[in-house]
Amino acid sequence: MSRTWRARSLALVTVVSAVFTFGCKEAEPERSANPTDTLFADFAKRVDSYITLRERLTDSIGDLDPTRSQAEIAARAVALGNAIIASRSQAKQGDIFSPEVAAFLATLIRQEYKRRSEPVLETREDQQDELPDFEPKVNQIYPTTYPLATFPPALLPVLPALPEEIEYRIVRDYLILRDVEANVILDYMPGAVPTGG
């Protein structure tokens, strides 16, 4: 399944590029290549690089099939998490969300929030208390004492598609990238999500 995400990501690049190219036409002269293509391709490459590493790790740890044993599920998550953290011991904020990608994604998120109707904004405001209140770090195990805040469903189609192994989540005003099975925070973008709505 992780291989199919590249095609979806590419399709999104095309759509977003088209939207931005169209949106910028009046202000700027037409250019031969859209910079968003490069940005998204760079992001896809960084994600791909992580997935390659992860596949190597899961080859040695093994895949997880449904089991009656929660101990087995937990042990596998811990083993995978430890292996990821050890293999990415030098990882730092911005390795996947490069500053250029982060700035562009933050713009996309802000634009999506601006498009929201009043009832949607009200709902989000009512749910602010559900946002986890901790400072995320790269290679941190997402604290199990906090719930995973519901990700705004209208925002997901705006962001580049991800392989099923990783996901976006919101912590305070941070957008984070999280390994779903290992529960490890891979990267984060501070100030990415408008607060209070």
Partner: protein, 297 residues
Amino acid sequence: MKRHLAMLAGIIAACAPAGAAAQDMKLPVMPNSVRFLVIGDAGTGDRQQNEVAAQIVRWYAQFPFTFAIMLGDNIYGKERPQDFAKKFEEPYKRLLDAGVKFHAALGNHDDPNQRYYKPFNLDGKRYRTFKEGNVRFFILDSNYLDPEQVKWLEKELEDSDSEWKIAYFHHPLYTTARRGPEVELRAILEPIFVKHGVDVVFTGHEHVYERFKPQKGIHHFLAGGAAKLRRGDTRRGPLTAAAFDRDRSFMLVEIIDNKMFFQAVSRTGAVIDEGILTSRETAEATPAPALPLVRSP
């Protein structure tokens, strides 16, 4: 002797809710019907969850359902092996031992790795579908409704020729409770449900019971009070058909051909709502009996 009589009286008093339950059971319990339990926000492992579970077991004796649907927040807090024991396996042991199959949806308090926990029957997936008799169930992960899941849902709904289509997930599309409905989710899901003839939607998240007048032909139930309670949290509105926020609750459902019979039951065994619905495919919806709203003063 006096002491023995006092003890006997105590036992009878303790069993009173079970007696009330026996009188109030109105579901048909027909052979070959589709019978199931609905619980939401259940996984606290506390006294209240166990009391609700004990009440469910009492009703099970008269209403032997074959499976249960869980509306998310299946395991609150830590998810160590002992938590799965305390918050799921022990409260529902009698049902599990009797072969009742649990089909869980993921809530915002659930680690997505729960999809690998076999007793939750998610088969390693965050969203899935299963069929029981003439009913097709669609389990969604409303915590992370990505475009791929939406595409999957549309295809599965399109491919389904079941008489009943029931969707369930954690976040309510309609509620009068404190945090309000998930309108962003509703904007995406409701048109799909309408287009493909979904009959009923079950959700949790808010720790109350609510039933709404059919919205665009769809019946919405919120049953998020199987352990936690937000007392006095419902507000009667124009869409409200029934609500209960004075105690914990669960639902029992039976589907026979084009009829769906339901009863919502409190922790103490009182019936707090009941009615009969008709599937969209076969007829115009038969309005469920209008019951008085039960809520905190």
